[in-house]
Symmetry: C2
Subunit: 453 residues, 2 copies
Amino acid sequence: MLELTKEFLDQLRLQIEDGRDVELAAVVGELHPKDVADVFDALKREEVLYIYRLLDSDSRSEVISEMEEDIREELLSSLSSKEIAEDVIEGLDSDDAADALADLPEAKVEEAVRLVDDQASASEVLELLNYEEGSAGAMMAVELVKVQEDWTVASAIREIRSQASDVANIYTIYVVDESGRLNGRLSLKSLLLNASSARSILRDLKDDVEMVSVEAHESEEVVVKMMERYDLVALPVVDASGILLGRITIDDAVDVMIEDAERDYQLASGISEDVEGKDSVWTLTRARLPWLLIGLGGGVGGAYVIGAFDIENNPEMALFIPLIAAMGGNVGVQSSAIVVQGLASASMNMGNLAGRLLKELSVGMLNGLICSAVIFLTSLLLGFGWNLSTTVSASLLCVIVFAALFGAFVPLMLDKRNIDPALATGPFITTANDIMGLIIYFSIGSLVATWMP
Amino acid sequence: MLELTKEFLDQLRLQIEDGRDVELAAVVGELHPKDVADVFDALKREEVLYIYRLLDSDSRSEVISEMEEDIREELLSSLSSKEIAEDVIEGLDSDDAADALADLPEAKVEEAVRLVDDQASASEVLELLNYEEGSAGAMMAVELVKVQEDWTVASAIREIRSQASDVANIYTIYVVDESGRLNGRLSLKSLLLNASSARSILRDLKDDVEMVSVEAHESEEVVVKMMERYDLVALPVVDASGILLGRITIDDAVDVMIEDAERDYQLASGISEDVEGKDSVWTLTRARLPWLLIGLGGGVGGAYVIGAFDIENNPEMALFIPLIAAMGGNVGVQSSAIVVQGLASASMNMGNLAGRLLKELSVGMLNGLICSAVIFLTSLLLGFGWNLSTTVSASLLCVIVFAALFGAFVPLMLDKRNIDPALATGPFITTANDIMGLIIYFSIGSLVATWMP
């Protein structure tokens, strides 16, 4: 992988300044398109445009498909309609082209489309723009290789040759019936192994496996789960009547997987927008503020709970407030995280809500008993006295059990109502458990103060 | 996807009981191997073995490669050496076979290997067992299609046909020189497009791209990053002198990606072992206990911080303890999560530590000022008085700035010392920030009590 050093970038800038275009084109031409995209990420807009126009036509398209969305949008808005027509609509796979066009003003897209030679493929790209974002239809590319089941091997090979030039990776040859309905697949391998029997009918060579496909309106989550589950490198997309529309390749599914994982991770860490370290200070601040404000609200709530208790006559109760609050939050996050992951990987059987909660209850009890015993002995040894030690250890047990159940219950409930359960992991669980923990602690404290004065 | 209902499982159990083997084989035979593996996951050991022996030889191997590791280990330990030889060593791809054998006692493996017809491929599998777990070598399969650059198209097609029968998905044909050194690739597509010019030399048909490969000793993290970065479906593995050893396919890389994401997520949520909701109560308890004990330690530390302050004469200071503690933890987790993600995706430039911390300082200041202003006004409006409101808002600002810097600093430091930065996100950051927050709060409280009595 290319190590992007300051020296390398400075060298490029110098070559731009001096107009040493041949040299520059040679240096950049040796890089992998993904590396060029990274270089673009680090350069200024005019510099990007300068280098971009030195690339040959194939590389331009490849680099565009590798660029980060924001930088790509910037670059495309500087290009002419003719360049959009050639480098994007003609040069990219239909799914990447549609992604790129989605960010451009409609008038420019129309103008560019008019400049494309192959109007049929241009309108295929435009059609992809109609699918809802996040659906299988919006993820798919129309480029694929398909053959009809009643063809012979010889005619299939002829047809495949002509189709293959548009398709970057063939992976699988789809077999359809006369009306275009998907009804099987043929591996390149079996075609290669049977190339000598040119008269065989494809129907007899079709792979004898159940064909996995997805309807265009399904969500990208379904796509990713299917591809992961069945180890697919390409998933065919069909309409409601089974007509083959396109296919989704594994590289796009991997991108969605990574985005989902990052999103869940950020939600669990209390970050509400998709941000990266390189985003602006204001974007980063805004992404973090919601949880902080919820935390503030929780803190004020906590102040009221403590204020309702006679803290002035039992000031020693203050000592263990941080412990109780922290433990409630920690346990809640732990149990919600396990539920969220279980739901995401579909390994959790939701039919069995009661069983799930019973298990959380057991885990909570066990953890609670251990922690409660540890804190009781520690607190006694450190000389905090019987009353305080009893209060802390009894309330810790209650807090841990409550937080474990609550942490598991909330994401399960959200999921049942079709709300993203990952929302539960961050602010809500911790804040709710903080307050509930204080209520338990001070209630038990009052009881102990009354009974064991 | 198969919906695993209780009715379906009961039906299978009934068929096993009644010995209706033909019926049972037909029902299970219609399922995808992955679905059969899920069924096995839900059945008892004897039931699994019963159904397994009804499957045909191909399905047995496919199901084994799809099973969860613990269930697979259980099943394999019940099989005879002959079954291991046929269903595992001969039936699975070399990488899956090596994974499966790794769990078996050495004597049984040796016996099984002796029963394999093709001793050459058996010893290839055994060799894979020598690579260190988590290395590219341990991930790769030796099955691949390779041709020599000085061959003609005709001889290549003949050779590929004979090699291809062992390889589930060809993806790419690797081109090597006479000594076996990888020096290019040939797509099935270009072979198909050039099949008519049988006399052409492969050297002239080779794809004109830089060949991406990985050395066998590299870690799986490197493999995953490369495959993700360059959108590869297969990555060739070479030794130090460039000899082609095997290849890693995208399905295995995806598995590693998902495991890594789950691990990071669990660490951020304070879970220290790789657990799933269906694990035993004791496993789940043990995975959560470490953070809880660290949290307990932090809580006791917090008690000492509060005890050092004259809480008896300023009991109102107790009211905002939960707020200060919670905010320190929250901010710390947020800023460490962004750094951990940046490091994982390699988008963060570590050369620039000072710049990174300066940015965290800005974000912390901005968030701190907003939260501090909000709490000052709220607290005054709610009648908590000037002294307490000043103390809370001033310390909140300090706590937020400190926690943001500390949360970013710790994972950066860990990464510099080659320790997994994700370790920082859970227990350490929150506990350290809790305590630091309390120290700041009570120090400022003492100052305010002295200056504004």
